[in-house]
């Protein structure tokens, strides 16, 4: 299985390449990608340098162009596709039907991957994108159990990539607008979930409050570790109980599922985290390279090493991890 690593900037790209990634993915510096954060992503000069660096070392480069243009912003996405074709990226990861239609017609040689934001959870949906745009690969939303992943792979007309590690989307990607409900900005429209521009940290007599768009997301006692107010990881009241009603602050970690994922025929494992530091990318890529190599050598006797789990635990949200939807009980 290929290891696909995040590259939020040039140092992260190099860290991924140097630590065993088979492919890296990056975005432009605007709302055409789903990590549209201040200070992140690539301008023209750095892109060229990054692609050169990766290609010289036999690593593929994917461009994430995975948000949804509205008519008045269309030209930005069209220019981004033009640029991707010109740069010679190994694939473009897209979500919007209009964007894929333009790319497939204008640049038939440009390989297309369906982004997780395309929200395709079944092989009939994949067939649509294959027939219409000739996509080569699809990234599955983090909503399927392991056996459901296998069923999709067995019936899919294209290669399947799944998420292995990183921040966990609890909702099916591409169809979650909780963020714009509170802030006016969503991954689809703006390329960010729970954007920092709408976050407040307030010291109050009840403790430190985190708010998003004015909505109280969580409250932390003195000394408690206050996490970033991602909407679906907040602590809310339902029927008289206060708890993490949707999900706890936690990261996805599928290290222990590697042999099973390999057996399903999944071709690539994706690491989330373009917004994270180059150190994160370095640590995670190194662990996953070692794990993938071990699994490939001897899947029968593969066990995730304690040191790997500890290393990944350190860089996880809330320093805890979950198998997410791959495991039925989580659902």
């Amino acid at each position: 299985m290929e290891l696909v690593c995040p590259a939020g900037n040039l140092p992260s790209l190099k860290a991924a390449v140097d630590n065993g990634a088979n492919a890296v993915y990056f975005g432009f510096r605007d709302d055409t990608n789903a990590r549209h954060f201040a200070g992140l992503n690539f301008g023209p000069a750095k892109i060229a340098e990054g692609i050169r660096y990766a290609h010289q070392r036999g690593v593929k480069v994917f461009l994430a162009l995975n948000t949804y243009p509205q008519p008045d912003g269309w030209s930005r996405w069209q220019n981004a596709v033009d640029q991707a074709a010109e740069l010679g990226v190994d694939a473009m990861i897209a979500a919007d039907i209009g964007v894929m239609d333009y790319a497939a017609n204008r640049y038939p040689e440009l390989k297309l991957h369906l982004s997780v934001q395309g929200s395709a959870t079944n092989y009939e949906a994949l067939q649509f994108y294959k027939e219409n745009f000739g996509i080569r690969r699809a990234v599955l939303p983090r909503v399927l159990s392991l056996s459901q992943v296998e069923h999709v792979v067995n019936n899919s007309p294209v290669e399947i990539e799944v998420f292995g590690f990183g921040s966990l989307c609890v909702m099916v990607e591409g169809r979650c607008i909780l963020s714009s409900y509170a802030t006016g900005r969503s991954p689809n429209t703006y390329g960010a979930c729970s954007p920092a521009s709408h976050v407040e940290w307030r010291e109050t007599p009840e403790g430190l409050e985190t708010r998003l768009g004015g909505v109280l997301i969580d409250r932390f006692a003195k000394g408690e570790n206050a996490g970033y107010p991602t909407l679906c990881k907040g602590s809310f009241r339902v029927g008289g109980n206060t708890y993490h009603a949707m999900e706890e602050p936690t990261s996805l970690n599928t290290l222990e599922l590697l042999p099973q994922l390999q057996a399903t025929g999944v071709v690539a494992i994706k690491i989330e985290g373009r917004q994270r530091s180059p150190v994160y990318v370095q640590q995670v890529a190194r662990v996953w390279r070692a794990a993938l190599d071990a699994c490939e050598r001897d899947p029968q006797n593969y066990r995730p090493q304690a040191a790997w789990m500890a290393e990944l635990g350190k860089v996880s949200e809330g320093t805890q991890t979950t198998l997410g939807a791959y495991s039925r009980p989580w659902q």
Binding site: A120, T121, R175, L178, Y181, G184, V215
Partner: protein
């Protein structure tokens, strides 16, 4: 002079007891809605109504003069769900509202409606789907009236535009059942707790601000999106269909108020005041104004005058 928009009744998004559901549709058969969307769109475990039950209900409503459309499941995960989907897509009589790209694929070459959970954010997408058989599309709920205006100017001939005009907003879908989670139950043993919450289970922030509603694997807004106050603008934009999303109580009154206003039989301001009293928590319309969805612009404007 624009033609008057038609009224549609969206699929019931909640899990209601079968008798309650059938009584509800008896009432709707006599209500002034033109189009009725039928089917389970949220959770395939909800099985009080089997596919054949939906088929016979469709016949009853068609006989009452309604245009019936079958709505498909929004989040498809299992082969059994695809099997049920294929049956709906091959029903041969009524149109289908595709709520996922898998359903769009199965409907290619046949007339279909694309629901709000199919992402149609630009005219290039709309045109491609129109070439595959799309006859009507539901505007994504998070987009603004300004985007709608451009889309209306550029929409292909023969394509109708429908607006989600009233109801708790559909915001997200998950593999996890949040209603079961609220009772510490796993999804595989959910005990159908959503039967107890016919408008969803309201979620509040820790300062008691009501924020969201949990409806099984779906998350909705606690506040009801309401475009009745914007009726003049909606008309001017040439919208073809206004959708009312059913709620447990007063749906017939809601339909009556929308219908009365469209026909000019009821004064809009009076109707809006009445409508405000019929929603579970309160109303919102931020998305329409290009703002955070939970905002209520008209109300904010009124309060600033006081």
């Amino acid at each position: 002079m624009h033609t008057q928009p038609k009224l549609s009744l969206g699929p019931v998004l909640y899990y209601w007891a079968k008798d309650q559901l059938l009584d509800f549709y008896e009432e709707m058969a006599a209500a002034p809605v033109d189009i009725i969307y039928l089917g389970e769109t949220i959770c395939s475990k909800r099985n009080l109504m089997r596919t054949d039950d939906w088929f016979s209900l469709a016949e009853r409503l068609a006989a009452a003069g309604k245009e019936v459309v079958f709505s498909t499941l929004a989040l498809l995960e299992a082969e059994s769900e695809l099997k049920r989907l294929r049956r709906l897509c091959e029903n041969g009589v009524h149109m289908v509202e595709a709520n996922d790209m898998g359903a769009v694929q199965l409907m290619r070459g046949k007339p279909f409606v694309a629901g709000h959970s199919v992402n149609i954010y630009n005219d290039r997408t709309l045109s491609l789907l129109a070439r595959q058989g799309l006859r009507r599309w539901v505007f994504p709920v998070e987009l603004s009236s300004q985007t709608l205006q451009t889309m209306q100017e550029r929409r292909p001939a023969g394509v109708e535009t429908e607006l989600f005009a009233f109801g708790r907003l559909p915001l997200a879908y998950s593999a996890r059942c949040f209603t079961a989670r609220a009772f510490n139950l796993p999804k595989d043993d959910c005990q159908y707790r959503c039967l107890d919450f016919p408008d969803g289970l309201t979620l509040a922030a820790q300062d008691d601000t009501r924020f969201l509603a949990l409806n099984g694997i779906q998350t909705q807004s606690a506040h009801t999106f309401n475009l009745l106050p914007e009726l003049e603008q909606v008309r001017a934009l040439g919208v073809d269909v206004l959708r009312i999303s059913p709620q447990a109580n007063h749906t017939a009154k809601v339909v009556g108020l929308f219908s009365g206003c469209i026909k000019g039989e009821i004064d809009l301001i009076t109707a809006c005041e009445k409508l405000e009293r019929l929603v579970p928590v309160g109303s919102c319309n931020g998305y329409w104004h290009g703002a955070a969805g939970m905002e209520n612009r008209a109300q904010a404007a009124a309060e600033s005058l006081m």
